[in-house]
Symmetry: C2
Subunit: 345 residues, 2 copies
């Protein structure tokens, strides 16, 4: 029986929600990751201020997973001020997230006018708070072009604030990958599902709501560029799952929510994917080094161990309090790697 | 109160299903159309022979809508023979439909090798039986390119059998429209939903399974080309709804079926759409003349009358026998035209 060991990884883009959903999904992240950047787009009240982030962090920690450290964020809106950035930093917030208006789950507080955030960006630069961008232009002629059309905005922010650390989240196109490479201060997160899916996994056969996310998976040539970036050994590309749990009833309906719930399967599937391509030696840097370096964090100390035994992925996670479930990405399949556990070196 | 009257239209592409579903959906077509080309892809047993088509036609007529004439079809597979074409013609079959393998609802009997159908095409040419093509290449690099990539096949068939009447069904791209124009013996049907939708109406915001069909709606530039073709006055473009009822439970699920159920709303929405664009004078030819001419049928005799009164479209059609419903295209909206009825001139 083969084993795979690596430094405890980080998930630099994670939706944990709150309440019963948080309680149900958190254990899957905790068993695989030392830290996670926790998205602020809670419904109905997004995390906009340091104090809220602190309370939300306390809710996450209340489940007693003391080996896990949530990296807290606030959502930056057009009403965010430089003072709010300073206060957030004092409250331990490590990054600020911008959603374009009207683009994804709870993005009503999205930004249209990025220039109006001049003082906020200056303060983030001074504080070395990371700027997380959902990179989609809301008025493209097709949703397939939204990421491409956002590159002008990325260009503007990255050029005007050259020491602001910017992460283009969940990159989905070859075009955006080449743009990210142009800026010293820009990195990008790559999800598990964008390594695996194309648009046709959503619409090419039957309609598959559990493969539907924003930005939507694009063409095979884009997927190949994402895989190449993940395998490139470039410090600019690191892992962020964008695991986004939604109740089954809000996915399988007339107007289904965007978001893919990968949390339970991430490290086993990443090991399988990297190994299949002969790139397993690159997985530790992708998941446990480059992101920490970009954020300016020490690396995790524990060791995650996986074993090469069949792993039947669960179809869904039940949420009894909500009388509903969350469907697991590629659930029902059997893959060849399982999590054994964490040890401390 | 304004009225709109025109010669009774035809729907040259319609899915009626059988049993309880047929019973539920048929009345909506009958009140608006004099005839409809009835698709043969029944599940589990598609209509492959003249005798089956005759029995299916009898089932449709058993509901007593004597003013309505179903135009019966068979599905052409790689096992179809020239003799089967002759027998089908004798049984009153007017067209043969080819699905590419693995492409849409019940297309297991789809065709891969079009050259193997040489004798079938010669017999269809001799019989003046219309060839209906679901024009998607099954091995494109993206589902968005399938129609484009099918144009080589269309080119081959149309060129080799120059007097075979070919209809490229539910055209969705500017590229295919320009290809159709190149061949004297090729026409195309245009659906209501492809006049109105783009890909973003499926995936651009929330995921909308009731806007999901094959071929999927494409880009805005494609939609504009379809509208232009419908408004062009060209005899090559005529109406076929591809109305395709699926139970709600098979649309809103992990793997949703392709197909949009437009039957209850077609003529009111077409009148509204053509009027909005100042093209109402072109609607009668599009729906009641060009298709009949291409098929070699006389035009219908009755007159359909619509009135300009608010029409609240039903959200769904209930199917008590199936303990389920079928969601209506754009149901819940209020539009400005309603069907008044049919008169005989």
């Amino acid at each position: 029986m083969r084993t795979y060991k690596q430094r405890m990884p980080d998930d630099f883009h994670l939706h944990l929600r709150s309440g019963a959903m948080l309680k149900a999904v958190l254990p899957y992240t905790v068993e695989q990751f030392g830290r996670a950047t926790v998205m602020p787009n809670l419904h109905p009240d997004p995390i906009l201020m340091g104090l809220q982030a602190e309370m939300y962090g306390n809710e996450i920690m209340s489940y007693g997973f003391n080996s896990f450290k949530p990296l807290m964020t606030i959502q930056i809106t057009e009403k965010t001020t430089a003072q709010m950035i300073r206060q957030a930093q004092e409250a331990g917030v490590i990054a600020g997230k911008i959603y374009p208006k009207g683009m994804t789950t709870n993005s009503e507080n999205g930004v249209v006018d990025y220039k109006s955030l001049h003082k906020v960006f200056l303060q983030m630069e001074a504080s070395q708070m990371v700027l997380l961008l959902h990179g989609e232009h809301p008025h493209s002629t097709s949703s397939l072009y939204r990421e491409r059309d956002f590159m002008d905005t990325l260009d503007y922010i990255a050029g005007k604030y050259p020491t602001l650390k910017i992460v283009l989240e969940h990159v989905t196109t070859a075009y955006a990958i080449s743009t990210v490479k142009m800026f010293k201060n820009v990195a990008a997160t790559i999800t598990l599902h964008h390594l695996l899916l194309t648009l046709d996994d959503v619409i090419g056969g039957k309609l598959k709501p559990h493969n539907f996310c924003k930005p939507i998976a694009k063409f095979e040539s884009d997927r190949e560029a994402i895989v190449e970036a993940a395998f490139s050994g470039s410090h600019k590309f690191f892992f962020g799952s964008d695991s986004a749990p939604h109740q089954r009833s809000t996915k399988e309906c007339e107007e289904g929510c965007a978001g893919i719930f990968t949390a339970p399967v991430i490290m086993p599937m990443l090991v399988e994917f990297f190994e299949k391509h002969g790139k397993l030696r690159l997985l530790e840097n992708f998941t446990a080094r480059y992101g920490a370096e970009f954020y300016g964090l020490p690396r995790n100390e524990g060791i995650l161990e996986l074993v090469n035994v069949p792993n039947h992925l669960p179809k869904e996670i039940s949420i009894p309090e909500l009388n509903d479930s969350v469907v697991v990405f590629q659930g029902g399949q059997t893959i060849s790697w399982s999590i054994k556990g964490v040890s401390h070196a």
